[in-house]
């Protein structure tokens, strides 16, 4: 049996979202040129929370997009996953893109996402927001906004559940049985 430990509660997550939103506004002097892009699949609901919070704070619409990075992965052939919608509804050129994922681990997903974003235009800056940084980076990539640093072992998995009802949000760590361990 896998061992599951909750590391963030719904309240923890709500507070992290609010803090990150404020940090984004502070860093960028407002939300005027922002463009939020959530990485498929689990980065999208987290990005949605950030976008909504930003809009509520600044009282202006913040453009939002989704990005599937599967086609940019550096390990194509070892696993192929189903594609989820990529939807960048307007040009990102000149914008401050806030790239959002739920967990940062090796950094490879972010690397793929940066390449993918470049194919949509030339943002003035790209900043990275994650809910959980679990360490073990394999590339020189560092998030700009972090909900929580959670040191993990490679034999653990971090699961972010952002439910349709935010009351049920939670982040857990699952200790994997030997043979299930990835990477």
């Amino acid at each position: 049996m896998d061992e599951v430990i909750q590391v963030m509660s719904a309240d923890d997550i709500r507070r992290a979202v609010t803090r990150i939103a404020h940090e984004i506004i502070e860093r960028n002097n407002g939300a005027a040129d922002l463009f939020i892009v959530g990485i498929q699949k689990k980065g999208v609901p987290f990005a949605r929370r950030i976008q909504q919070t930003l809009q509520a704070i600044e009282n202006l619409p913040v453009p939002f997009g989704t990005l599937d990075i599967t086609l940019y992965r550096d390990d194509f052939g070892s696993h192929t996953s189903a594609l989820d919608p990529t939807d960048i509804p307007e040009s990102i050129t000149g914008k401050t893109v806030i790239l959002v994922d739920e967990v940062i681990f090796t950094g490879r997903t972010v690397r793929s996402a940066l390449n993918a974003l470049m194919d949509f235009g030339r943002p003035s800056t790209i900043q990275l927001a994650v809910l959980v940084d679990r360490g073990h980076r394999e590339l020189p990539i560092r998030p700009d906004f972090v909900g929580k640093n959670i040191p993990t072992s490679r034999r653990e998995d971090v699961e972010v559940d952002l439910a349709s009802d935010p009351q049920n949000d939670r982040v857990t760590i699952r200790k994997l049985a030997e043979q299930e361990a990835t990477q």
Binding site: L71, Y72, F76, S78, T80, S81, D101, M118, D119
Partner: protein, 312 residues
């Protein structure tokens, strides 16, 4: 997530699950074609060899665009400029091409069964880009993608295929694909253009165009070739157009939201009236762009590996 089969030789043998998987992925692939930079690095270092023993600029360009959009290396082999002209056998040609270490062969050939034949002699994936009068699975898939985009489903629809069924690989792939996904298929044409024992296929057969397309959701019009007239299968293009050419009058029999499809290239004024070909119900141009998306999805799915978890 991959296909359960190594090759794409026809829809007769493709499971509903695989077909739906291709359609789903193709749907996402369409988005790439609308980007400012229409290229993703997915298939870098992969080699796609198109082997066309029969000229078809449209299909060939569609496959090449699909492969290049996914960053695969594309090599074209055409029989007209090759040793095939010197009488080299298909087997020898394929054995020679296999030495190129292709990952995928896309093959178009005038002989039914040629794609399956090729798959026996290569370790590469084989995609049938049309073999004789047998199948044209990518056309069948792109037709279904087009239908699904407009109707939201395949199941429960009624699709009429009009014209030269006997000699049409497009018709065969459509029959297998559509019926497997739960559509009703009707075939419309004169007896001379219907193959033997056609009524044993899962279809309804009509000799009258209006009757055949009545209340249909989709009318797929096949290209009629002059050589069939020369072979004595119908008296003249004029009479064919009168009886089986889809015009706006006849089209009123179909459902008001009917889709009109054609695998191209169209003979306007023969199997399809110009105003229908270019009219509000026609989705012919969309079929072309869907063709690229479907072929991208197939390349992606064939060359992908297993379905492991993703590390962040």
């Amino acid at each position: 997530m991959t296909l359960s089969q190594k090759h794409v030789l026809g829809l007769q043998d493709m499971s509903a699950q695989d077909m739906l998987c291709v359609l789903d992925q193709a749907q996402e692939m369409k988005e790439i074609l609308s980007r400012p930079i229409k290229k993703v690095p997915t298939l870098r270092g992969k080699s796609v060899v198109t082997v066309f023993f029969e000229n078809s600029t449209r299909t060939r360009i569609s496959f090449e665009t699909a492969a290049k959009t996914l960053s695969a290396d594309v090599t074209g082999f055409s029989a007209s400029t090759s040793s095939v002209q010197k009488g080299e056998s298909l087997k020898d040609t394929i054995l020679t091409l296999s030495a190129m270490a292709a990952d995928v062969f896309v093959i178009r050939h005038q002989a039914s069964g040629a794609a399956e034949f090729v798959s026996r002699y290569t370790d590469a994936h084989v995609i049938n880009a049309g073999d004789g009068q047998h199948e044209h699975p990518t056309q069948g898939l792109l037709d279904m993608l087009t239908i699904r985009q407009h109707k939201g489903r395949i199941e429960g629809l009624t699709v009429a295929i009009v014209g030269d069924i006997t000699h049409s690989r497009v018709a065969r792939s459509n029959i297998w694909g559509l019926t497997r996904l739960g559509a009703k298929v009707r075939l419309v044409g004169p007896e001379t253009l219907l193959p033997a024992e056609v009524r044993q296929l899962p279809v309804e057969v009509f000799h009258d165009l209006r009757e055949g397309i009545r209340d249909c959701d989709v009318v797929n019009v096949l290209r009629i070739q002059l050589e069939r007239q020369e072979a004595g299968l119908f008296p003249s293009l004029r009479e064919y157009a009168q009886r089986f050419g889809l015009n706006s009058n006849a089209l009123r029999e179909a459902r008001p939201d009917v889709l009109v499809m054609h695998p191209g290239p169209m003979n306007r004024g023969v199997e399809i009236a110009a105003d229908v070909a270019d009219g509000e119900f026609s989705v012919v141009e969309e079929q072309v762009s869907n063709g690229v998306a479907v072929r991208m999805a197939l390349l992606y799915l064939l060359l992908g590996g297993s379905d492991d978890a993703v590390a962040h």
